[in-house]
Symmetry: C2
Subunit: 424 residues, 2 copies
């Protein structure tokens, strides 16, 4: 008998019909002889509706109260799911994050899980029950306040519970069949990846692949918990995210490039004419850090000898642009730079593959593919298993398709893919 | 500095505008120099919406999960209320029933409060905060499951918190100006009662007066906690429910009759032709008790000497009629009664007044008033401070008005009253 943790997102439980279908799937897993724990998100648009209510009473609601408000969403979905399961003849109990022992720090809105003490969940399993746990939420260690985990929070809840319960697998149900070699909306010939390593998946998530969130994969890697990403609309095998998918004994051959990710959510800021003195770049980076803005890529041009000035370009989440520009203007006189240039019509293309470590020449082939479709590279950054470039936004689709083809990722046949979206 | 506990029902927080108005009232109370604790119900129709969702997934949802579901309603309203208060510049924290230390037994759907340990509430007050507490809910002592208190639950939460915190007063805000001598929709000349004793209020609540629930008044009496029932739409003094409103030093003179209550929610069942033997009535009553049906009034006719048979009539909540009739039919052969008669076109009129104890002749005057408007009395029951009669439903309005007039309760002027309704 295996212990299976399953996660269902908001689109999987959007209404009563969806909830009943998910209940059937859970009951089938239980009847197949498994112990089952389920982490569930709020129904469809619940979160948006609650945020809308909050806006009506306060322009800037306190984070503690916003968390209290939003966590009512999972309370509704998990109770309904437990009822639907009971209606199929299996006993199910629902548990809040607090009852499930999900202990977090006190950073409301994006709390981090620091411990999971699932005594009540284990007890429910011992009694033959299915345990339904509210995703996305926990309780802060010292202050015992309700917290939320931020985007992708329910994925993290599922993996953290699986790790604490020493589950055999954590199944993440979504509205696509798994992780693809590229976004099938851009590359119709994209293939489902049967297995991928934690490291590759983390790079994919960080580079714009939306199917799993970075924090959840980090958590899974730390506890070596296998994740099975699969569709809630079919019983097909999805994508296994594991420590070493290419180890001996498996049938998978390690590809050089596992996938091509893209991300249109960043913006580029160029600080023009920065005096080329020690400490000027540090002052700029410090200013952004103080404003709690994460810099993704950063490049500094070679200083022009005639002027003794240089340009510094970096990319940040486009949503932080106003904050970043405001903070930089405040230090213009102090740093002595000439002007700021802003561009949000950009996209990032990333090649990811553990095989890159042992294969030289990847970069050359990648750049040649982009040149072949007339796409100019504006910035470059690399890690051991990733190459990312910034290009103009109107070149993103062509660049992704070209790279996908160049590294032989195209499938012989186009698979049918259904798309939707879930935020938690 | 006083400690004030306030209760706001669902109609007082029906939407964002209502919540903001309630927030202003709370902040005004705080600014007047009081510590403030607020018990709040779910917004307007939330409970019905949630029940509707539950029905869609399961015809008979488990009580534990139904409680989990319904308690999300207060989680929403209390968080929004705390935000609205913060927006007015005061610090407020919201607390679930569990966080507020409302400990109940494990009877889901109608749990009883068995202890209140409001450590976190007291701490919040000590830090200068306003504490907003979810009404209607608690946590079960042994199993630590979320429970709900049933109808009028938020009133009970407020009084229980007030008692545990040794508050100076528990203010119950509603959509009428207080407790009236009769329902002003039937008797336009009804007066607001300035003060009433716990005992009288309990009789009023048990006899159909909807403004306060019986259990909340019982709780207040046990802890001698003054309740001030008042309108959330005005600043007028409402009705004080206290131990002795007519004690020396107060200006109130004890009336003989404090009020006339009525109740259309009961039905009458007559068991016809019961053999007049020892134990037959007991068997009937036992059957209903086993079906968890509360009998209100019961009368047994004098046995007809010729047949050796008698009729037994009783009243029960009309909603339990089908269950009661079914249970009785099952014992028809065993008891040997002839038939069942059912009538839900009835109403109960009750005169309530602590002054009845020392004034004879009340019953005669009451019955004369009813006879004067042609209303026939079908059943009678009395307590030390109450006389109740069952009449045909179409006589209820005339009977209430006649009794109200006979005992000089009519006001000189008609007060304007706004009506609405709240279930929790």
């Amino acid at each position: 008998m295996a212990l299976v943790v399953q996660k269902y997102g908001g689109s999987s439980v959007a209404d009563a019909t969806c909830i009943k279908r998910v209940a059937q799937r859970i009951v089938a897993t239980k009847k197949a002889g498994n112990d089952v724990v389920v982490a569930v998100s709020a129904m469809g648009d619940t979160t948006d509706d609650l945020l809308n209510l909050a806006e009506q009473v306060s322009p800037l609601p306190p984070a503690r109260e916003l968390d209290m408000l939003l966590t009512s969403g999972e309370r509704i979905s998990m109770a309904l799911l437990a009822m639907a399961i009971a209606n199929l003849g299996q006993e199910a109990h629902s548990f809040t994050g607090s009852q499930a022992g999900v202990i977090t720090n006190a950073t409301h809105g994006k709390a981090r899980i620091i411990d999971v003490t699932p005594g009540r969940i284990r007890e429910a399993l011992d009694q033959g029950r299915i345990a339904i746990v509210a995703g996305f939420q926990g309780i802060s260690q010292g202050t015992k306040d309700i917290t939320t985990l931020g985007r992708g929070g329910t994925d993290t809840t599922a993996v953290a519970l699986a790790a604490a319960l020493e589950a055999d697998v954590c199944e993440i149900y979504t509205d696509v069949d798994g992780v693809f070699t590229a976004d099938p909306r851009i590359v119709p010939t994209a293939r489902k990846i049967p297995g991928i390593s934690y490291e590759e998946m983390m790079e994919m998530a960080a580079c714009g692949a939306k199917v799993l969130h970075l924090r959840c994969v980090e958590y899974a890697r730390r506890f070596n918990m296998p994740i099975h990403v699969r569709s809630s609309f079919s019983t097909k095998e999805g994508t296994w995210v594991v420590s070493d998918p290419y180890s001996e004994g498996t049938e998978m051959e390690q590809p050089i490039v596992s996938g091509v990710a893209h991300d249109r959510s960043e913006a580029k800021i160029t600080v023009v004419g920065v005096p080329d003195k020690i400490g000027e770049a540090a002052a700029i980076v410090r200013t952004l850090a103080d404003a709690e803005i994460n810099i993704d890529m950063i490049v500094q041009n070679v200083s022009a000898a005639a002027t003794g000035r240089t340009d510094i370009s970096f990319t940040i989440p486009a949503t932080d642009s106003q904050t970043a520009l405001g903070a930089l203007k405040k230090i213009q006189d102090q740093v002595g730079f000439e002007s700021l240039r802003y561009d949000d019509q950009i996209g990032k293309i990333s090649l990811i593959g553990a095989g890159m470590r042992s294969h030289p020449g990847i970069t050359a082939k990648f750049f040649a593919a982009l040149a072949g479709v007339g796409v100019n590279i504006e910035m470059i950054s690399t890690s051991e298993i990733r190459i990312s470039v910034i290009v103009a936004e109107d070149g993103v689709d062509a660049a992704v398709a070209a790279a996908h083809k160049a590294f032989d990722l195209d499938a012989d046949e186009v698979e049918a893919v259904v798309y939707g979206g879930t935020g938690r």
